[in-house]
């Protein structure tokens, strides 16, 4: 008998813009806050009725006690509608879904590479588990998270902005290469989440230096529970479902 899954109506505690890019949504739930691993996700039914019709997946950003926080950017109609929700508005939420990031990495140094929607789950990971570096790539300073959002992260946080307005100028992968070249590359374990092109570049570098790691790989999904087969990812074991077999996959398993 599979374990009972949670689909709950919650009230919004807070939904506000935190910088030029992200909104933060907060709610309380005993069930949705239980046994969450960074990298797992939720499926939100933004409105009852047919618009938006499908649920939208969001990664967990932070769980403190029963309090769940999500950090999101407006990427389409669903997130646009969500951004207009007010305190006490209700949302129907399923979760926690999928397989999260690996927490035990032996004696290796945890190195996280985040971009865009990949920032929240990796901040969560760096708050929960000992991490050496958190690298964040953005377009400009506007998207940089306020310091208090990162105060629980004990890792060294390094930003790379494309326009050079904050941190180092250029792509986050250039920053990544600089760091891994300074030490024994094989002593690192990389975990990455963000735009596909970024993750592909990270994986290419990891391959070049023989570094192990994981990336959170998503595709447009409908159900979030492995039924619709919309979000397949090509792995060495064949096609796997990002929503239940992932979204986190080992570099070596991805094709």
């Amino acid at each position: 008998m599979p374990k009972k899954m949670c689909d709950e109506v919650v009230s919004i505690l807070e939904n506000r813009k935190v910088n030029g890019k992200y909104y933060k949504l907060t709610f309380q739930s005993t069930l949705l806050s239980q046994k969450v691993q960074p990298g797992q996700f939720l499926q939100i039914r933004i409105n009852q009725g047919n618009d938006p019709f499908l649920r939208r997946p969001f990664s967990y950003y932070r769980v403190i006690g029963k309090r769940v926080e999500l950090l999101y950017e407006i990427l389409g109609r669903g997130t646009d509608v969500l951004s207009k929700k007010k305190k006490n508005d209700e949302l129907q939420i399923m979760g926690p879904l999928g397989k999260g990031f690996c927490k035990t990495i032996g004696k290796k140094k945890r190195l996280l590479v985040a971009g865009g929607v990949g920032v929240p789950p990796l901040v969560f990971l760096a708050e929960r588990y000992s991490t050496d570096y958190l690298l964040i790539g953005t377009k400009s300073k506007l998207e940089v998270l306020p310091k208090h959002e990162l105060k629980k992260v004990k890792a060294e946080i390094l930003y790379a902005t494309e326009d050079g307005s904050y941190g180092s100028k250029g792509m986050v992968t250039a920053l990544l290469e600089k760091i891994i070249m300074h030490e024994d590359p094989r002593g690192f374990f990389i975990q990455t989440c963000g735009p596909k092109r970024m993750m592909e570049a990270v994986m290419a570098l990891a391959g070049k230096y023989g570094i192990e790691g994981e990336s959170s790989w998503d595709e447009t999904m409908a159900c979030g529970v492995g039924a619709c087969l919309g979000c397949m990812v090509q792995t060495k074991e064949g096609l796997q479902r990002a929503c239940v077999d992932g979204p986190v996959f080992k570099f070596k398993d991805l094709v």
């Binding site: 689909d7 039914r45 447009t220 409908a222 159900c223 919309g230 096609l239």
Partner: protein, 315 residues
């Protein structure tokens, strides 16, 4: 008041009329954490093909107004895997199983029918999928030639005594005419409707929002079309009908019942509301109690056509 939802089709008895549309309920227990599968009247499987199919490239799905397009492309691990790894699950479950089958040739339809005919302890009926819009052979394009449909259903009929439903859609041509012909070939009932082919474009890239140009439209957007076909086919032939197409809530389910649907297959709604099937079941019961209808048979087909009300008939 206790209400009776028992639904009988030929020699089959279902404890209630609520089932799941092919391809929307996973392959085995994906929804078992949300819905007790035993509560369903029947389970219709994802379409099984003889050989494993990898399906289409991503993106395979996108949301459209009140619905979604999919171009999954009948991804499944094939007949052998189904028999070895999925059938034992359903055997234990003891919910009437309706297996959806699709062949790329007449001989594949034969093989599928023959195989499942030997599994009558688990498999109670076959849904012959003649209308997948997302595959090159065996789907809508291939079946456009009516003799191919008829050859396929004949092949199935020849090989099995299981109750058989032909799943057809307006993409194949005139639904009423095709329904008549497949019934003539011995199909016991009709499953209506499959997805309708549609398009969605990313205006920035000017390319399809799917990896393919077209996908199958499902969800509330197609419900009025599905309802109309269920009504017409039921009226014309009075054969068992599995209804699907945008059934999301109790109201939808009741509408389909009123035009005569025998089974109600909840499809895309499962993706949005995992408990949609049991919500609908409870809703139907509540409606019957409120309306003091004890037997579902009294509700089924109770639609009052416009002409009976003296307001002119539709065909």
């Amino acid at each position: 008041m206790k209400v009776d939802l028992t639904t009988t089709i030929k020699n089959l008895k279902f404890r209630n009329p609520v089932t799941v549309a092919s391809g929307t309920y996973g392959t085995t227990d994906e929804y078992a954490g949300y819905v007790e599968p035993k509560k369903l009247g029947a389970i219709i499987t994802k379409t099984i093909t003889v050989k494993p199919r990898a399906g289409n490239p991503m993106p395979r799905i996108c949301e459209t107004s009140a619905g979604m397009l999919n171009a999954i492309g009948l991804q499944n691990k094939g007949l052998e895997d189904f028999l070895k790894n999925k059938i034992p699950y359903f055997q234990k479950l003891k919910v009437p199983l309706i297996v959806s089958i699709a062949g790329e040739s007449v001989s594949e339809f034969s093989k599928l029918a023959e195989t499942f005919d030997r599994l009558k302890d688990v498999v109670k009926a076959l849904e012959v999928n003649l209308s997948c819009p997302n595959v090159e052979t065996g789907g809508v394009n291939f079946m456009k030639k009516q003799e191919r449909i008829l050859d396929a259903v004949k092949a199935v009929r020849d090989k099995t005594s299981l109750v058989t439903f032909a799943k057809i859609s307006p993409e194949l041509g005139d639904v009423i005419e095709i329904a008549g012909k497949v019934i003539e070939q011995g199909m016991d009932g009709i499953s209506l409707i499959n997805t309708l082919r549609g398009m969605a474009i990313n205006i920035h890239t000017r390319s399809s929002r799917l990896a393919k140009d077209f996908g199958g439209l499902s969800g509330p957007a197609i419900k009025p079309v599905a309802l109309r076909y269920v009504y017409q086919v039921k009226k014309e032939y009075n054969v068992p009908v599995i209804a699907s197409g945008g059934i999301c809530d109790t109201r939808d389910a009741l509408e389909f019942l009123m035009v005569g649907a025998d089974l109600l297959a909840v499809g895309t709604a499962n993706f949005v509301i995992p408990a949609a099937t049991v919500d609908i079941l409870k809703g139907i019961e509540a409606f019957m109690k409120k309306e003091k209808i004890q037997d579902l048979g009294k509700l089924r087909g109770s639609y009052k056509p416009a002409c009976e009300r003296g307001e002119g008939c539709s065909r």
